[in-house]
């Protein structure tokens, strides 16, 4: 039974509070980039993704923007995939939850990440291999950043996936508009990611990526085409959900102090999962 939109929205708040608390505790996070994709992760793990790693027919999910992993871990803890207690070890030595995801530390992952531009190509190989095995149930869903789309390897993968008609491959671009140093629009020449994917032979739509409703509607429609891969350009806000972090580049790097943490929790009006 799928959650109601209101429940999803409330869950997003708890995941955000949890993610911010992880950043406060560890002093290690790309917080604005994690917060922008919380709603996407929430909708995926809250119902749109078959994520049981033991199930060979599961969907293959890859967080290609590995620097946003605190939001992934918080979402996985929220939905009971990893224990909440594990979050307190985020970004500590020998942790299951390093600050870039490592498959050897956390076997629930399909692959490690942290270096940008790999997820889509790897997912295309996964889908080619599954199709060759005549297994047409699993999909592969890759969550990428817009800055990641600077990488040429993303477009090599996009070309391959379209040429091979990998219609069970889904790219979700967390289009929060900001990169490590600049604005993604400025660095990509103010061009449309939706148009880019379409011109590479994909079916693509743009949605409000901080709207649980729009994300849910989009994800329930995939594949958008029977012989093309699907791209969802999710327009999001960097630092989404906490007013003083929104669209403020410093929160890509800054870790919250106690005052920031308290202000964020007060605004979200929920408690984080961890103590």
């Amino acid at each position: 039974m799928m959650n109601s939109i209101q429940t999803f929205e409330q869950n997003s708040k708890i995941i955000r509070a949890t993610t911010i608390k992880m950043a406060y505790d560890s002093k290690e996070s790309h917080l604005s980039s994690a917060l922008s994709c919380v709603d996407i992760l929430n909708i995926l793990f809250g119902g749109c993704l078959k994520h049981n790693k033991k199930n060979p027919e599961r969907d293959r999910f890859i967080l290609s923007k590995g620097h946003a992993c605190s939001a992934l871990y918080a979402t996985m803890a929220f939905y009971g995939i990893i224990p909440v207690e594990m979050l307190s070890r985020y970004s500590t030595t020998d942790s299951e939850l390093p600050n870039h995801p490592c498959k050897f530390a956390l076997p629930e992952l399909e692959i490690s990440s942290g270096s940008l531009g790999h997820g889509l190509g790897i997912a295309s190989g996964i889908m080619y291999g599954l199709r060759l095995d005549n297994r047409d149930t699993p999909r592969s869903i890759v969550l990428m950043s817009d800055g990641e789309c600077n990488e040429g390897s993303v477009w090599e993968a996009a070309m391959f996936a379209a040429a091979q008609k990998l219609n069970k491959l889904v790219a979700i671009v967390d289009n929060n508009g900001s990169q490590a140093v600049g604005r993604s629009d400025e660095l990509m020449g103010f061009t449309s990611l939706e148009d880019k994917f379409k011109s590479f032979g994909w079916e693509a739509i743009t949605v409000n990526g901080n709207s649980c409703l729009e994300l849910l509607q989009a994800l329930t429609k995939i594949p958008f085409s029977k012989d093309k891969p699907s791209a969802i350009i999710a327009k999001t806000i960097s630092g989404a959900g906490v007013s003083f972090m929104e669209n403020n580049q410093i929160w890509f790097y800054r870790q919250p102090n106690k005052e920031n943490l308290d202000a964020a929790i007060t605004e979200l009006n929920v408690e984080p999962l961890q103590k």
Binding site: K103, G125, I126, G129, A157, M159
Partner: protein
Amino acid sequence: MRRAFSDTLVNVAEKNNKIIFLTGDLGFQVFDKFIEKFGARYVNTGVAEAQLVNAAVGLALEGWRPIIYSIAPFATARPYEQIRFGIAYHNLPVMIVGAGGGFTYAQAGVTHHAPDDLALMSALPNMTVVAPGGPDELEALMPQMLRLDGPSYLRVGKFGEPNVGSNSPIMLGKARTLIKGEKVAILTLGDIVSDIKPEIERLHAKGIKPGLFHYHTIKPLDTSSFSEIEAEYEQAIVLEECIPQGGLFQQLCCWKATTNAALQLKRCGAPDSFILGNPTREELRRRIGVDAHSLGCICKSIFGR
């Protein structure tokens, strides 16, 4: 050696239905037999080497045994980050094949030279690195490499090299004793052995008797064979179509620094510079002293003839 590769590829793919071959848009007509037999297990990713590697990573995660193929510089240096991240870090059983390693494509210019392929691949944890001396070694080693649990790199030469031709066993990770000798041990890496072995045989006929040891595997390094060479010879000369950093010579030097052996170790190999001027491979090898003539002169000098 290229033909031995394509034939062996068909043979191993017949025995193992999880083998899948990916090319970065190279190998015109070389793999026609494979395509005819295995259809969708042949994938052309296009001139897109990052995708060539990443697709193989995804396939390996799903239990396939990908063999990826391109010209050596484009199979190694170009997608190095993808190899390092996807294949090496995750220790996946992907075989990377660099066609025309070393200076096989000497006259094609610096863009097509790959004297660094073995060094680059050796720098990666989990990687096994192999440069067969001839078609017979390739045929023997490739199935052994495909039994590994982790990744490997195979340097493949051109068409038409002779077999190494020796009864010495061909075992992955083990140097081969091709000719026993005295005083001086010649150590070859890769297909240079096909030039050197006949020269050593000619020298023996003249009473000059260096030993010949052939390294088809550079990683893991066969230190036990080298220990025997250290014990039995006064000098060893490494011949390698490889840059100084990370080649056989440097790796043996590092090993030797941990032993007390008196063996003198010398090197004939590619310099730490780009080779301009589009020489033929033969001219290039002569220029850098990695050829039969240069070796003959060195041996005659050492043996006082």
